[in-house]
Symmetry: C2
Subunit: 327 residues, 2 copies
């Protein structure tokens, strides 16, 4: 099941969203426009706006045209996501993003830092027009979780014996928080029922945990052409992910230490292949997949309270898309 | 008149503010705490919280203890300011800030970018507890102006023939906007009268323009020991400021071109001295001072509507402090 098929019921909404997104980003500074055009031309999966729209529709029923505030909510989430990507490229020193040169590698750190801030301010301004304190609360709390998660990630780089619990806190704050916020914003912009908002938080959070575990798996298993990123990137960067955490604890101490030494002195291409085999042999990949599936089951549970609609159907399909996707 | 004397009527308020600022910044990530402690130990003039407190008091009268929301507003402004400083050090590649190593030079770009984002998210969370849509609007619009101004600055670096109008737009967005926001937040957190907010916007904006012109002058005239920054930094960075803009237009074309060539090939220490003399000879310094004084007169006008209080008196003194300060 492709993302395109999943999005069939909201095809029109997504087009309206694109317009809204572009409208929000109009600027009268030439440099800003140039960078924004580049970002729009190389847009990603749009997972976050898709989540906002599907969860808006889940609560809002069948209006022919999605209301402006739902489109705005979708744009806000994509703005926040894009802002963090642009900053992440500076943070990670990445040259590639979505298979093309990163903003950072074309315009350098200076412009990337400022563009991230600019996109963030645009998200705030769009929020303002939602006139919802609840939405504002969700966004501020999410912004804090994300920055905190990223900093915890920096602190725990090379922490090869990290507890699973820390790993889950890390990916929860860094990734799941934003997907949870997207689903909550869908609910907030269409419903006044606090139980809806809680259900959507759980849905998004669990989906997000599974999403990030899949991301970590793709770094090991994926096809470079599809992900647009060099494989074994996390291993090279000494980023500790679930499959590795599990494998290191399963292996004999001596073997684990040998693998860690390899990573510490910046593993070469051939060594990365060896580390991948090590993780696979000790069941790290199976374990991570099982964990991801557990979170997806929890996500599906949160949808039970809603009546059957094409939107609920799409959200259910999205859940299985997350663990089968190849990019 | 020193800033300390100016702040006498709000000495107690400033102590309460310090507590609030520290309370907001508590975190459970070790790395975050370390960076924050460093920032707090090397705090600057606290001009923005001082402005919030004085303008709060200007509207709020004489309560023995300043209300919590006023202290929060003060902390929000300092958080925003600190966030932009931390990002600025990445943007400018500066190693020094306030006479000590910058966050960037100790913890590198990665941590600086993320810490800036973290501080920004903390400002948003503190905003949330103000429960004021008007305050939220001011902050979002200011965040956009600041990021836009910074990006315009990047675009116009080395634009030696920049019109004065562009220069004023630039420093208005980059610097004056935040001082205006501080004064507006003081009004918003103490008054419901929209005219107060407008008066405070004008006051802060004009004060901010004068403040930045003085900053640009200090780069040329200042004492390295007092400013904590190497002199002629702007010239070395090819940043075009008012004294230079004026001097280049006053000088004969040929001489101006020679100065520009010198800057383009990254002026050496001895050449920077020559450029400073050039600016002085052609009246760039006098002109900038006159302009700054013009804005200060406008700022004073905005205070006329208020009754005489120690707080109005301090704000008036602050106005002259801005053009006489040496750091």
């Amino acid at each position: 099941m492709s993302l395109k098929e999943i999005c069939k019921p909201i095809k029109r909404d997504l087009e309206d969203y694109e317009q809204e997104f572009k409208r929000i980003l109009k600027s009268n500074v030439f440099l800003i426009d140039k960078v924004i055009q580049y970002i729009i031309a190389n847009k990603g999966k749009r997972l976050r706006p898709i989540l906002v729209i599907l969860t808006s529709r889940l609560h809002n029923g069948n209006g022919a045209v999605l209301e402006k505030r739902n489109l705005k909510a979708a744009a806000i989430m994509e703005l926040l996501h894009t802002a963090t990507l642009v900053h992440d490229d500076v943070v990670d020193g990445s040259n590639q993003r979505r298979g093309v040169p990163s903003v950072n590698s074309i315009w350098k750190n200076k412009v990337s830092v400022l563009m991230g801030d600019y996109l963030f301010s645009k998200a705030l301004l769009a929020m303002l027009s939602l006139k919802s304190m609840r939405a504002y609360q969700i966004i501020s709390e999410t912004a804090e979780r994300m920055a905190q998660g990223e900093l915890l990630g920096v602190e725990r780089r090379k922490d090869y014996w990290m507890e699973e619990e820390v790993y889950f806190r890390l990916i929860g704050d860094k990734t799941a928080s934003l997907l949870a916020a997207a689903c909550q914003l869908g609910a907030v912009s269409s419903s006044d029922d606090e139980e809806d908002i809680v259900a959507m938080k759980d849905f998004g959070e669990n989906l997000g945990l599974a999403f990030q575990i899949r991301d970590d798996l793709l770094d090991i298993l994926g096809k470079e052409k599809k992900t647009g990123k060099p494989l074994g990137n996390d291993i090279r960067d000494n980023k500790v992910t679930l499959p590795l955490i599990f494998a290191l604890r399963q292996a004999k101490r001596g073997e684990a230490r040998r693998i860690i030494r390899m990573m510490k002195r910046n593993a070469k291409r051939r060594e990365i292949q060896e580390i991948v085999s090590f993780v696979e042999y000790h069941g790290g990949i199976d374990y991570a997949m099982k964990k991801a599936n557990g979170y997806l089951e929890l996500a599906e549970k949160s949808l039970e309270r809603y009546p059957d609609t094409p939107y609920k159907d799409s959200l259910t399909k999205l859940v299985s898309f997350v663990t089968t996707r190849e990019s």
